[in-house]
Amino acid sequence: MTGSDTHRTIDAVWRIESARLIAGLARIVHDVGLAEELAQDALVAALERWPETGVPDNPGAWLMATAKHRAVDLLRRNKRLEHKLEEIGRDVESRQDGAPGFDAVLDDDAIEDDLLRLVFTACHPVLSTEARVALTLRLLGGLTTGEIARAFLAAEPTVAQRIVRAKRTLAKAEVPFEVPPRAELADRLSSVLEVVYLVFNEGYAATAGDDWMRPALCEEALRLGRVLAGLMPKEAEVHGLVGLMEIQASRTRARTGPSGEPVLLLDQDRARWDRLLIRRGLAALDRAEELTGRPGPYALQAAIAACHARARTPEETDWARIAALYAALARRTPSPVVELNRAAALAMAFGPAVGLELADELAAEPSLKDYHLLPSVRGDLLAKLDRFDEAREEFERAASLTRNERERALLLDRAAACGRATASP
């Protein structure tokens, strides 16, 4: 094996082992930042040693053992961390008593608990959302600072700073390395899910032609979601989020046309949807629905996505069910945007007049004042009702509000078409 082969192997091992390594170390030193430094030190040692000695049979155990030695060395040299050395001393002693100690860190059950603790720590509310995202990708995804920076189109030093500050904040706030108590679990879990979905959307919003890292964010978010579902198999919303992401990801290939232009859901070539991801998404949604009779926002959105996934043609779409799901979503998380989507679904299910009634009610909604999709939806429904003059105004208004050039062109085309329809009744 050449040196560069070994380096690539080490990258792969790091990708597989780093989260478990950091999580295991964090349980011992009670400090996520320190745990990550120790894990990084072990990685550097592997980079120095393995090209000569070859990759050990159990690279994870090697890294853990090395990190453990570094921890003891470091703590000996560092007075500031004296109490942590004491803890480790106790740990070593207790191991001699036959109780689980350092070496048990690689024990399977403990790993899962440790990983869960790491997830909740990285997504702790004491951190800003940006910091949670960066820290999660770094500690759980094993992404480098450079990779995270590229993915979020940020400067590398900015991201590095963000991560350093996040770790410092956690240490300063003395955030315990633990899974939150039952009473707090739901709130804290929603912070975790929010981070994962944010990562997913950051990648999903980018087109396939962009820098490779951005689509890769979708994969990373999916992987994190699947890991979470394994760690918290009883939490319906985790499965709901995984189902939502799998189904959305199944459309990736169909979402852009030959010259990179976005293709809307109903215009997509459904043969290009990824059946494997759809199956996985529907299975995850089933699990979410089995676990609760009161699905949360992610499971509801997944159920809406599933309605589209199940329809073999746009005409087969169960719009009545989609409208009902949007109504349920609006009850769980009231939002004018959800209502607008419900209006569009109602129009598809029961005719444009029904949808327009709800859309008109939303016209007075201040938060939608500059939201281009409101006039866009209203324009569409008005045009379907042959009220072309009003429709043209709405499309023109929508065109003036959108920031997307292609969309503006499309809306102005529709406005012009309405103008022609009025002129020649």
């Binding site: 192997t9 990708r15 992987r223 890991v227 760690l231 043969a271 494997l276 996985r280």
Partner: protein
């Protein structure tokens, strides 16, 4: 990116000999590891080729040949589909697999095509690939 890890057949798998209790246990643990890491998309074991068939093409002609097939080492006994970041990661996962037969076995790793693999392809080639995919998706 997606990789398919193919398990090559051996005399036992072709004879339909079920794996040992121990191997089932080890494979179960391995599969769990793949799931826990969020990388396993799908995986199945295949019946011996004696339960299979081949369709041979010759120009417009088609001939169906029932199994079993010779060249045991060229046959496939099962597969995993995994979603990982690199070929090296796929190799690293494959290395962690318990020895599928306990003796001389082979796991073959193959990358699954993606859109981005066709950046240098001609329009015609892309269209052909697209037709192929469409057919797969329809079935």
């Amino acid at each position: 990116m997606r990789f398919m890890i193919l398990v090559k057949a051996d005399d036992d798998s072709e004879a339909g000999v079920p794996p040992s209790q121990e191997l089932i246990e080890e494979m179960g643990r391995y599969n769990e590891e793949l799931v826990n890491a969020g990388v396993l998309l799908a995986g199945e074991g295949l019946h011996p080729s004696s339960n299979g068939a081949r369709v041979n093409f010759s120009g417009d002609g088609r001939t169906v040949v029932d199994g079993p097939f010779a060249e045991t080492k060229e046959l496939i006994a099962g597969f995993w589909m995994i979603d990982v970041k690199s070929m090296d990661e796929a190799i690293e996962w494959a290395k962690r697999c318990p020895n599928p037969t306990g003796e001389e076995s082979v796991l073959e790793i193959r990358k699954v095509f993606e859109d981005t693999d066709f950046e240098n392809a001609t329009e015609e080639q892309i269209a052909r690939e697209q037709r192929l995919r469409d057919r797969i998706a329809e079935s």
